[in-house]
Each structure stands twice: as C-alpha cells, then as structure tokens.
Symmetry: C2
DNA sequence: GTATGTGAAACGATTCACAGCT
DNA sequence: AGCTGTGAATCGTTTCACATAC
C-alpha cells in the first residue's frame, strides 16, 4: 500500500506538513485543502498534492483533506505514532539544551537516555533521566531500546562513538559535530552544522554587497 | 568577477568544502585535488569541480588546488574573510548553548550581542557579552552592526521579533523556532528544526520496518 | 462548482566523458 | 601522464494543466 520510493525532497517536507496540520487542528479546522497547507508550509499547492500522493490517496476531490485523518496518515508514514526512543550522546551545553527541549515529546520523540564521558557529569539527574557514562553506551542503548541517537560530542570523538552506536543496532543518527560520519549505507544520518548554515547566510549577504 | 547564479545546492556545500580545506591545511597538505576533497566531503570529484567552477577557476590542471589560496577564495565567496557580526535573540537553553559555542569564531562568526525578554536574565554576563533586553533590540542591532540574527525565541514570538530585526536592517536570519517566517524576499532565512530532522530519521527507520 | 491526483512539460542538479592545460 | 574545467547526457524535482471524483 505504501508505495516505495518517496523522493527525498518530499520526505524532508513531511515534518513541515505535519506541523501545519497540527496547527490547523489547534485552530479547530476539520478539513483543509492543498492551497491552505501550502500557504502555511511556504510552498505551493501542486507540490503539496504531489508530495501527499507519493504516500497514498488521502484527500477527497471537491472537498480537501480531513485534518485528523491526514495527521494520522502522516504520523504513520513518519513512524511517530509511538514515541521514538532517543538518546542524547554528549551532555555539553547543546546536549543539555536538547535534553530539556519541550518540543520533542509532542512530535513523537522521547529522550530515554543521556550519556557523557565526563565523570563529573555522570549521575546528574535531569528531568527524570540521569546522565550515564559513555562507557556504558552499549548497555544503556540495549536497556532503553534506543532507536535514534543525537550526537553532541566533540568532533574528534564523533566517528568512534557513532561506530559504537551502529554496532549496538542504532539505525539513525543526528550528528551535530562538524565532521562527516562514515557509516554503513543502511544507517540514516542527518548532519546539523549551525556554523555552516550561518556561512550560507553570509554568502547571501555577500551577494547583495553587504 | 564573482559569477552570478551559483546554484543553491552548490552554496549549501561550500561550507563543507571550506571545513575540509581547513582540515587539509591542518594536515600540512599544500595542494589538494578534487578526488581528495570529495572523499573528505562525502561527495564525488565531478561535483566538487563543478561546484568550484561556478565561483571561478581556482585550480591548476595536472596539479590540483593550492589549499591556502582555495581557502582564501572560498572564504571570500562566503563572505567570512572578516568576522560576521551575529546576534543571538532568545537566551534560553539553546541560545546560551550557541552563545558559548567555540566553533563560531574559527568559522567567521562573532557573537556581538545576546538579547532576551526575561528581565531576570538581562545583565547576566556571558564571556564578554552581557544579555540585553529585547526592548532594546533596535538600539543594540544598530550599535553593534548586527548582520545575522540567530532566533531562539518561543515559536509565538518568532515572527514579531523577525519583523523588528528586518526593520532595523538585519538581512539574514537563522530561525530555530518551528514556524515558517514570512519575510521580504531579500532577507535570507534558514530554518533549523531539530524535531523535524528526527522525524525524517524516523521515516527511514519506518521504511526498514524498524 | 470545487479540489484532488497525476501524466506531461519545464526546470534544475548530477554525472559522464573528454578537450585543454601543466 | 595527470587533473581541471566544462559541454552534453542523465537523472530527479517542480510546475502545469486537466481528467476524475465528489
């Protein structure tokens, strides 16, 4: 039923659509159409319809999309009907900021473990989760059933830690260290590089002679 | 000299190339070729050459690229030969993590101002920068010559704060709030949405039946 | 009448393959 | 001989426009 081969560009937009639909639900809209979704998401209606059509036929011609049912469908496609089990590896400033970010729970992400190499940080309790030693990485990942890891360790450590995560079965990694990870093709990796993003903004300023 | 119309996909990769070159410089490599850059950056050689060719002719046939001079060229294109003046707006956990991130300075970004709406945070000194009131936004931006703003305010406040930033002449905004900003076309905007990124990873897990 | 779903057209990005320079 | 720079070919994405369904 779920057609294979959803284009990557489409996948990147799905979380945006889901956010818009939740917002529409918050505004008590029972039904929404592609023009409205596009407006909220910052794209155009044709794009919205094409994107959704890769996942199935969720709309009703002449009417639009039922907000609740489209939320259900998108959540299913994104695999966030159950909370995903997330570990934060590296409890520095960024790691701790992410650990206490309230936006995760409501979007299907539960932080179930926090790891750090620094013994002085280990044992610190944050919310209901304690910081555990990175030496215990394998045990913690198994015990908690970690599915996604967020890497906020120093750049030098990132590859080694990623290797260990993959070896214990973690299939998805979001990497905040400014290094490219070399991992098996079946592991999903997203790279976050804030300084790099700022440089892209700087490029645009430069173009305008600023 | 700088040819117009560099494809956006190319621009996104330029910070990656610059990072790789700095790494090569650190390894005392005087010269590098497109195969080596590609390997470090996680692309292929043809892509690297095409990308660089949009910016100019920086290489020497039969030899490769002089590392130092390519660093200079890329830094120039990205507009980071001088430090860019950055303001962090919203001194919550994420804002404070970014404020103290050491990776900015070495990549051409200087945090010159930190703003927050909470009076209890105002006046707190961090590094050499004090947190100032968001009421003073216009004055601070002018005084410090802010070029790029990093928005780490609550989602509800993001659009209003962004409007004020643009009105005082900020031309580039990196937005961490999970809302699409509606701004004039000449303002450069990058959206960061960590929860959304994690949902994309979740999609890939779901595909593999995980 | 209205809005979806989708082939076809237009557009943009990546890869190929080689001429041109060192 | 070796590596860049680049047209041409391929591939993927977006947009158009309309048949189809309500």
């Amino acid at each position: 039923m779920t057609s294979q081969a959803v284009p990557p560009t489409t996948v990147d937009r799905l979380p945006v659509y889901l956010r818009c639909l939740l917002q529409a639900k918050g505004m008590r809209m029972p039904v929404i159409n592609s023009v409205q979704i596009a407006e909220m998401a910052g794209t155009n209606a044709a794009q919205v319809r094409k994107d959704l059509s890769y996942l199935g036929e969720f709309g009703t011609r002449g009417i639009g999309y039922d907000v609740d049912s489209l939320i259900t469908q998108l959540s299913r496609c994104l695999g966030v009907t159950e909370q995903r089990r997330v570990a934060i590896v590296g409890y520095g400033r960024l790691g701790s900021a992410l650990q206490s970010y309230p936006g995760f729970e409501e979007r299907g992400m539960r932080v179930v473990a926090v790891l750090d190499a620094d013994p002085s940080k280990v044992g610190t309790a944050v919310n209901d989760t304690a910081v555990e030693s990175i030496d215990e990485l394998e045990a913690v990942v198994s015990r908690e059933g970690v599915e996604i890891a967020v890497l906020t360790v120093p750049a030098e450590a990132a590859q080694a830690v990623a290797n260990r995560l993959v070896a214990v079965g973690v299939g998805a990694i979001m990497n905040f260290a400014p290094v490219r990870l070399d991992l098996p093709a079946d592991v999903a990796v997203r790279q976050a590089d804030v300084a790099g993003e700022l440089q892209v903004l700087s490029f645009h300023l430069e173009l305008q002679g600023r």
